[in-house]
Amino acid sequence: MNTEIFLKMENIHKRFGSVVASAGATLEVAENEIHALLGENGAGKSVLMNILCGVLAPNEGSIVFKGAPLKLGSPREAIQHRIGMVHQHFMLVHNLTVAENYMLGQGSPLRLIRDRSELCDRIRALSDRYGLDVQPDALLEDLSVGQQQRVEILKVLFQGIDVLILDEPTAVLTHQETDRLLLLLRDLVADGKTVIFISHKLDEVMRVSDRVSIMRDGRVVRTVKTAETSPRELARLMVGRDVLMELPREPVECGQVVLSVTGLSCNNELERPAVRDVSFEVRQKEIVGIAGVSGNGQSELALALAGLLPAKSGSIKLNNKEVTGMCSTAVRRLPLAHIPEDRHKMGIVLSLSLAENVILHRYTDPPFATRGLLRFGAIAAHTRELMRQFQVKASHEDVAIRNLSGGNQQKLVVARELARNPDLLLINQLTRGIDIGAIEFVMQEVLRQKVAGRAILLISTELEELLAVCDRIFVMFGGRLVGELPPDRGRLEELGLLMAGNTAEAARLAAATG
């Protein structure tokens, strides 16, 4: 690395109202390196990078780029300085073709977009150069998430950038797609680009980056050479203490079968097959995990089990009782508890109070309601009790739940769901979007529930989460359960292959190692 500063963000502050997202972050990136930005959710990584690519303007602080101060008013100006970013949520328009997406915002608004063959040729050429396999005429909505990401990366490269920022690019990818992406990043650096790569996944950071900056609470706490550090050290820097993802687990004997699914198939909302012929069992005192990349039928499986999506065929038995075709209210009475995938979309009603959220399923049940009327006293008392037990930090049970942090919201959801002593606990994404303290709290709570005798089904896209608590892990791909593994870190690669649908390769691998 040469001595001149390539890129330096100094003392960056960014506030949203009274919320401080960046609290004096300082980051230095060298030319032609892969620089990983590591940190937990809410550490301020995305905000810092959004400032670098012109989406956000900092309240304070300065940026020096290629020896000159850099003032960015818009993403467009950042592109002019050859800095581009691949956002976590793709900036692609679903009803346009790839080529049209590339044209978006280019040149004068009065320009005609009739002749695009030259553009398509250029896209193809660049795509071939990096082996991205992007078809310029394809309609965006027809592409898979992985393909869309390649379109997005190529779009940024197409604008002729030198510095490429990627925000959690692997969150939506399979193990194999991730490998391919990491190789691409290496190619880009070989081509003279500089890559900044946001992640909270230690293994990827270790594998691909040259240097790592760790962010915590809106600040960069340390920048280290990847070669000179270890995952353990990075994890410690990230959370400010040692995290033992290996939660203490007592060996427990499984009890009788609580949930038994045989040959279950169902369609998604668009009436396309989503779950195909799925069979498994969950016993008392057992945590069964279902791993998989988003969109492989896990959401539909969870909804079907909770009685929210009709089964096309097959059967679901709860405590040996046929529940297929039952409505969600009936299933819940069995009792089944369900922590849904998307908290804001499903789990809570943001503008209602904590108390009103606590009775979401029980708004007709005594003691919360009698003769059709809500009993506010009982509701408030119950809410306060849950808040105390689960350490939900809020001033009053009457405040709107939107004013709580994600972690506190999730704690309340977990508390609510456990309050009825369910036989089966159905969890889809336990720790998404919540802080590390809350993660540990809820995961330990799940383990306690297991010991207490519940059957637990944990659907997750986070392998770490599954490995930490599960007794068995199924992998779901294309709507099917394609394999079952023990929670063994040694078989991560096999897991990844299965998640990518590469069953044959996984089997070979299993045979070789097993």
Partner: protein, 310 residues
């Protein structure tokens, strides 16, 4: 002799259908711009009334039809500006602002009409029909289709022009993207807010032009509430046409055809259907249109959702 009559019937009905459809075509094409940019403007009914009144008042004052139409378009743009201010900048609920706009349009035009036109009533000069050479000489259809006034012809041009703008220019590309994924537009440096303002103002000015057609090229009088639900029918036309301007032209024609047909049917005393049943046809048709075409996929993804920067 029979087929001769049938042809005359067809030609006359088609001509009446086109003329009746014209205000709906303008309003629907305008609304397509607005909705393609992600904004639902149900206030076009009120906007049409404002266009109708301003066009009428201006022509009454100046005697110039051209000035009347210009003023109507300008008034439409102002109305659009108001709507955009509330829905894009203040981010108020678009349905509610639309409802308010309809009330304002009705109230304001009636108020001004009653205040200033209490002693007039002769009406304004009507827009002359333009005979298209050669074509207007065609048997049957010549008189019907090629002796309309210029605003009627322009409705076809506007539909195709709208298609060209939306699908063949960079402006249209960005506008469509604004309704689908505004963040993706913002990131390219184009202003989502500006595009939405623009789309709303295009939509409102076209709606106002459609309204002005009623007073200046159809009835030559202003009548309170004269749009009679045409703005709302245009909303249904937009859904039915799957947000396609040329499609909207033809769907509007179908509605026009129903208006024309119900009169034809009434003139047949043998039918014995109460005339009110026939009058209700366009409204029933609108409901049926929404029942049979319920395509959520084609709708712009952020339709009705305010854009929050960052």
């Amino acid at each position: 002799m029979e087929h001769f009559n049938l042809l005359v019937f067809l030609a006359v009905t088609l001509a009446a259908a086109w003329q009746t459809a014209t205000p709906i075509i303008y309003a629907a094409v305008g609304e397509i711009f607005t909705e393609r940019a992600g904004v639902l403007n149900i206030g076009i009914e009120g906007t049409m009334l404002i266009g109708a009144f301003v066009g009428f008042a201006t022509t009454d004052l100046t005697g110039s039809l051209a000035l009347g139409f210009t003023a109507a378009i300008a008034a439409g743009m102002l109305t659009g500006l108001l709507f955009a201010c509330f829905t894009v900048t203040i981010k108020a609920n678009q349905v509610v602002v639309g409802v308010a706009l309809n009330l304002l349009g009705l109230g304001l035009t009636s108020f001004l009409f009653r205040t200033y036109f209490v002693h007039t009533g002769s009406g304004v000069p009507n827009m002359p029909a333009v005979h298209i050479p050669i074509l207007s000489g065609l048997p049957f259809f010549g008189v019907a289709l090629f002796q309309q006034n210029i605003i009627v012809y322009l409705s076809l041009a506007v539909a195709f022009l709208a298609r060209f703008v939306l699908f063949s220019t960079s402006f249209g590309l960005t506008l469509r993207a604004t309704g689908d994924h505004p963040e993706a537009v913002a990131i390219t440096g184009r202003s989502v807010v500006l595009y939405r303002y623009g789309a709303i103002m295009i939509g409102s000015s076209l709606a106002a032009l459609g309204g002005a057609f009623l007073t200046l090229a159809d009835v030559n009088q202003f009548v309170e509430g004269m749009t009679d639900g045409r703005g709302f029918i245009a909303l249904a036309v937009v859904v039915f046409s799957r947000w396609s301007p040329v499609g909207a032209f033809f769907v509007s024609l179908i509605f026009g055809l129903f208006y024309a047909l119900q009169l034809e049917l009434q003139a047949q005393p043998s039918l014995g259907i109460p005339y009110q049943a026939l009058q209700a046809m366009p409204y029933i048709l609108t409901i049926l249109a929404l029942v049979f075409v319920h395509n959520k996929q084609d709708a712009p993804r952020t339709l009705g959702v305010p854009y929050n920067k960052a």
